[in-house]
Every structure is written in structure tokens, then in C-alpha cells.
């Protein structure tokens, strides 16, 4: 039984492909051999604890930081050698909230930004500005976190780039605005073929939009797979176990999380359902329930797994 989580996707072509990407900040290794793969048209959500390297990975893809090792390909191009070509095809929402020029007014900043992207759709930008409730006369430096975030989203989306790199896109937005943003994003995806790479803690929200997931820990991916595969392969099993239960030997590698209430134990197990049930039954446990995990719980299970 496969107790190893998939690390590579077998679809292609990949809009984003990182091979052994490394980045150090002084003594700290932010990325230690990242093998990221984002298929064309995918909505890929990158999850991981703080400091795992998610923001760094996105910055390397745009050549905002130089890599210390390995290489990255975006649309088959090297972000360092073909930087402008890569950045022209990407809409980026950064993690930070000060973006653009604080002394400029929002409307002026949008016109400034539009100069750099000939594919800017002014009508769409206006619809988005209306939907986001953006005031063009305010100075960028005076915007609240949430208002600034909305401006960044507009800047990234209005030129309909083939790739969206979103670093905590809903950070700072109130729940209503977060919900509305997801709806606008869904519409955006419906209108034109777009690949999206989202780095976020709010896994629950993007669950319906995402179709691939990558779990980043300690600078490298500990799992990378389509959501459908995760949904099928990672399940929560509830079983009653006898008094002197010795455990299910065959499952040892695949158990990701374990909890219990009295004689009922609950596992999150990665593996083929029929096989896992068989193993459990063979060890003397009575399987009561098998259920898939919501993405948030699945990610928690994957993150809490001891390597």
C-alpha cells in the first residue's frame, strides 16, 4: 500500500514548473529543493505554515528575488533571463499591503499600471472597480488593508493574464468582501482560460475553486496532487477497537492523524479505501464510518504528519 503521498503531477503542460528551487536568507533556508508543478488551467492552492516559503516561492517565479539554486520555468521561460516576458503574462497580488506608490491616487495608479499592460481591459477594470467599491480619488497610502487588497486584485485581474499569482488574496478583507471576491474570481475564470496559483491560510474558502493542492513544509513540498485524488485517497475512518487491540500493522506508514473517544478511534489515512478497510477489519477493528475530509482538515492532517 502506498504510504507515500504523491509529490509530482503527471499532467502537462505545466504553466509553472520549479526544479530543485533553493533560496537562503542568511543562514535560514526558505526553500530547499522545491518541485512545484502547476498544470495549465489549474487552480492550485499552496498551503503551509508561516515561514514555509510560500511567499518566497511566488517571488522567485517573478524574479523579485534571485534563486540560490535550482531553476524555475513559467510558461517555459526562465524568470531571470526572460523576466519581462514572464511578468507580462502574470497578474500578481503580493503579500504586503503597500504596493504601488503611496503618494499616488488610486485612479492614477491604475492608469499607471495599465500603461505597462497593453492587454488591459478598461471596461472590465471599471466593472471590477464598481464591484469592489474602489474610490479612485483616495491616495493609495491612505487605504485600509482591505481597500488596498481590492486595488491589488483589480490590478492583477484587469489585464486578464494567463497566470494569476495570488499571495493571501483575501487577507484583510471582511467576510462579505472575501465572499464577493471569490465570486468575482470564479467569473474571471469562466471568462478566459486562466491558471491560478493561490497561497493562502484560508483554505476553507478556496476549496470550491481549487482543483490542485500543494503542501509546503520546511521549504519543500510534502505533497502535491489534484484535489480529487486527495478527496478519494485521504479519508477519515472511524472504528471500534477491542480492549487489547494491537494496532493495524499494515497501516503504519499511511496514518496521518489519530484521535479517540473511548474504544472508538478515528484515523485520517491515506490509501485506497477498500484496502484500508480490509486492513482495519483484519486487525480486529470494526469500521463504522468512512468519510472524506474537508480540505482544511485534510491539510491539517498532512501538515501534522511526522516526516
Amino acid at each position: 500500500m502506498a504510504s507515500v503521498l504523491p509529490l509530482r503531477l503527471d499532467e502537462s503542460p505545466f504553466v509553472v514548473a520549479a526544479h530543485g528551487l533553493e533560496k537562503r536568507f542568511g543562514r535560514q533556508r526558505a526553500l530547499a529543493g522545491l518541485e512545484l508543478q502547476v498544470p495549465e488551467g489549474a487552480v492550485y492552492v499552496l498551503v503551509g505554515p508561516n515561514g514555509a516559503g510560500k511567499t518566497t516561492a511566488l517571488k522567485l517565479l517573478l524574479d523579485l528575488l534571485p534563486a540560490d539554486g535550482g531553476r524555475a520555468e513559467v510558461f517555459g521561460l526562465d524568470p531571470y533571463r526572460a523576466g519581462p516576458a514572464v511578468r507580462a503574462r502574470v497578474g500578481y497580488v503580493p503579500e504586503r499591503h503597500d504596493w504601488g506608490y503611496g503618494w499616488m491616487r488610486v485612479g492614477r495608479l491604475l492608469r499607471h499600471h495599465a500603461t505597462y499592460f497593453p492587454a488591459w481591459d478598461a471596461a472590465y477594470a471599471e466593472r471590477l472597480a464598481h464591484a469592489f467599491g474602489i474610490d479612485p480619488d483616495r491616495r493609495v497610502g491612505q487605504l485600509s488593508k482591505g481597500q488596498a487588497r481590492r486595488v491589488h486584485l483589480l490590478m492583477a485581474m484587469a489585464h486578464r493574464p494567463p497566470l494569476l499569482l495570488l499571495d493571501e488574496p483575501t487577507d484583510g478583507l471582511d467576510p462579505l468582501a472575501r465572499d464577493a471576491t471569490l465570486g468575482l474570481l470564479a467569473e474571471h475564470l469562466a471568462d478566459a482560460p486562466t491558471t491560478v496559483l493561490i497561497s493562502t491560510h484560508l483554505v476553507h474558502e478556496v476549496e470550491r475553486l481549487a482543483d490542485h493542492v500543494g503542501v509546503l513544509r520546511d521549504g519543500r513540498l510534502s505533497a502535491q496532487l489534484p484535489l480529487a485524488m486527495l478527496h478519494c485517497g485521504l479519508r477519515r475512518y472511524r472504528a471500534d477497537v477491542p480492549e487489547d487491540w494491537a494496532g493495524a500493522a499494515g497501516l503504519n506508514g499511511a496514518v496521518l492523524r489519530r484521535a479517540g473517544l473511548g474504544r472508538e478511534i478515528q484515523w485520517s489515512v491515506w490509501g485506497e479505501e477498500a484496502e484500508v478497510v480490509r486492513q482495519l477489519a483484519a486487525s480486529g477493528a470494526t469500521v463504522r464510518d468512512v468519510a472524506p475530509l474537508p480540505l482544511e482538515d485534510a491539510v491539517l492532517a498532512l501538515l501534522s504528519r511526522k516526516e
Binding site: L184, A186, A190, E205, R208, P292
Partner: protein
């Protein structure tokens, strides 16, 4: 049209969408030749990946539940007389009920007996039951 889908459900999202359309059809909320919302519209409403909606619509078309008129949209197909739609729905509900029963340590027989008992009780009977 209000669909309720739940990512935590065992069924994939596109299957849930399909089930909701079937449910609406059986209940009569959607009648033959009624238009379904566009992929774009439904995806935006549900905050769901448009590919998911597209997949649901494709499968529904394959199952004959809906038909597509190019450039105009997706519409509910004529109701089948043989009650297949109702049968599929019933099966889905039964599956979920059985799973729930098993989770509580009940067998199929106990469940069926409980259902029958409930159905007999006048106060809790389904008001819409034929």
C-alpha cells in the same frame, strides 16, 4: 435558483450539482425547457470552479437530464415517464441514510423498520407525500 453544495460531502462537487438539478426537476422547481443558469453565472454564485459546473452540465446532458442549444444555453429536457429520475434520487437518499445508520451501528433492517414506523405516524408524515 438556489443550490446548496457542501465541500465536506462525500460526493464530488459536480455530482452534488447534478443531484441538485435532478432534485429541482423532480420537485417541479425546474420544468422542461426551463433554462439553467450559465456556467459563468452558477460558478460565480456558488464560488465554484467553472470547470466543475461545466462537468456537471456535461454529465447531465449525457444522462439526458438537460439539453444544450449552442449559443443559447442549457435547458431542462422533457421528463422521462419511466420515473428513472425519481429512482436515482431515491437511491441517493437511501445510500446516505444507510451510511449514517451504519455509522451508528444500526443495520439495514433496523433502519427500514424505523422508516416504516415514522411513515405511519400521522404527525411527522411528509406533508407532500402522495
Amino acid at each position: 435558483m438556489q443550490l446548496s453544495i457542501n465541500p465536506a460531502d462525500a460526493r464530488p462537487l459536480y455530482v452534488q450539482i447534478m443531484d441538485e438539478v435532478r432534485r429541482a426537476r423532480v420537485l417541479g422547481t425546474l420544468r422542461p425547457d426551463d433554462a439553467l443558469p450559465s456556467v459563468r453565472q452558477l460558478a460565480a454564485e456558488l464560488r465554484v470552479n467553472p470547470n466543475t459546473v461545466a462537468q456537471a452540465y456535461r454529465e447531465l446532458e449525457r444522462d439526458g437530464v438537460v439539453y444544450v442549444r449552442r449559443g443559447q444555453g442549457t435547458f431542462i429536457a422533457e421528463a422521462q415517464v419511466d420515473g428513472t429520475a425519481r429512482g436515482i434520487l431515491a437511491r441517493g437518499v437511501a445510500e446516505r441514510a444507510l451510511l449514517d445508520a451504519h455509522r451508528h451501528g444500526l443495520g439495514a433492517g433496523e433502519l427500514i423498520e424505523a422508516i416504516r414506523a415514522l411513515a405511519r405516524e400521522p404527525a411527522t408524515s411528509n406533508p407532500g407525500e402522495p
